[in-house]
Amino acid sequence: MNKREVIRAVLAGQTPPYVPWSCGFTQEARTKLEEHFKPLDIEEALQNHILKLGSDIGFFTDLGNNHVQDVFGVDWDRSIDKDIGNVTGCVLPEPTLQHYFFPDPLDRRFFAEIPDRIARYRDRFRVFQIGFSLYERAWTLRGLQNLLMDFYDHPDFVHSLFELIADYNIAQIQEAMNYEIDAVYFGDDWGQQRGLQMGPRLWHEFIYPELKRMYSFVHAAGKIVFIHSCGDVDEVFEDLIGIGLNCFNPFQPEVMNVESLMEHYRGRLTFHGGLSTQRTLPFGTVEDVRTETKRLLKMGAQGSYIFAPAHDVEGDVPLENMLAFIELVQNQPGYRDP
């Protein structure tokens, strides 16, 4: 079985020959690894099973002074967080879309590299990424506190905004279907350390209907649905499975019980993630990382699991801790580096 087939088997609830993996790293952590593995290409060194296509958080225009602007017109300050940045200003200062025009979802930059990347990594499972896929896109435009209050103050505006964002995503997914992709990987953080930011009632009223529409579109094309949503969101797993979610990431052990959830949902939902990025990776020893990784690999041996740190690994994680889990996943019996 190649990597793509192993992921497919896992998603189908079958027992794979080994636990597949797909690990992400922030720029700072990635630089440490590149230095370590050179002259070997980092993609080759990591042997990730998932090939990320499209651009999860979009494209940016350099505004100078560590600021960039995304295609939606949002200004991001990257003076500290070099990977994503922090929103500055407010594109929608008032709860109206009257003077706002959405960008072109078919901007060629989102698709230009797909054929070459698929040709280069043919054996990997192909996901088309849509970051900030609803709630997050809305709050980057409107401001987080504004949007959270808009749920009560201006519900029609929130419904309209979410509907337009979902339309934009669907147009992009439709175009992505012209390529040989396997899945769409949505990204939208709804959680906090405990519970949903907006709570289950508002999630159901505003977010759920648009997810249902987007997931249905992906499934109608015969593709798989992944979602990345940070925080304690397991209370909506049943709803997500009901509308066709296949795989959930990041599966944070600090906010959810990964073992019991794995046991409960195995065969119905696949999990991607699980290795502690808030505790073990930055603050644990190499032995702590090895112990936790072994436990996760054992847990995932029966399927429905793709190993990864529960977030892109941050720059404060020692190189030795990164190498500890990379070495363990690559040395699993059943896995042969092609």
Binding site: Q145, L148, Y152, R194, M198, Q278, E314
Partner: protein, 211 residues
């Protein structure tokens, strides 16, 4: 008192206009401003915190209640000043250096204000030096340090050490919070309070002031 019950309800419902009307009515009825504050606004925000802890309220409900409370407080403040009623304590809050995330810190500020504190918001990316200056200038009872990232957590220890070096550690209590934080970390770096969320922060701060 029915009027103050109505005031409490309007804050809990997040209805700012009704809250301001109720405060006006309460003042017109000659209810002492400190009583309107304690039994109306603060009591309501305490209930909001309890409902958040119980999973009945989430961030949107907390935000609109805090907005209503602030609207009421804006009307009440001149009366409180005239009656020489002081805040129960002073807190300087900020997100530590290297971290620009502010929603958690803002919620803590709102809940502290709703618990009767004067809140000085130092903003985001706040250096040890800025905290030290704030302590020297404003003499807060407490400083609040927020961090979302594991990469910025170590700045909290730097601030505690800087307070010691400046001879200010016994002048001010230190409270920390944020997604990756734990009680163990607070203990390890010598912070006084770890608060897992905004209502707990307000509750801990009040307990601290009550000795």
């Amino acid at each position: 008192m029915i009027l103050l019950d109505d005031l409490r309800k309007s804050v809990i419902d997040g209805d700012m206009n009704a809250t301001q009307d109720q405060v006006h009515k309460a003042l017109a009825e000659n209810i002492p401003p400190e009583k309107i504050l304690a039994d109306g606004l603060i009591s309501a925000m305490s209930e909001v915190g309890r409902m958040f802890e119980n999973g009945e309220f989430y961030v949107p409900e907390m935000l609109i209640s805090a907005r209503a409370m602030k609207g009421g407080l804006a009307i009440l403040r001149p009366q409180l000043a005239a009656a020489n009623i002081k805040a129960i304590g002073k807190v300087a809050i900020g997100t530590v250096q290297g971290d620009l995330h502010d929603i958690g810190k803002n919620l803590v500020g709102m809940m502290l204000e709703g618990a009767g504190f004067e809140v000085i918001d130092l903003g985001v990316d706040v250096s040890s030096e800025k905290y030290i200056s704030a302590v020297m200038e404003h003499h807060p009872d407490l400083i609040g340090l927020s961090a979302l990232l594991t990469t910025t957590m170590p700045r909290m220890k730097d601030i505690v050490l800087a307070l010691k070096a400046a001879g200010l550690r016994d002048k001010v209590k230190v409270m920390i919070g944020g997604a990756p934080l734990t009680q163990q970390y607070a203990t390890d770096i010598g912070a006084d309070i770890y608060a897992p969320d905004a209502p707990s922060a307000a509750q801990c701060a009040r307990q601290l002031m009550q000795g």
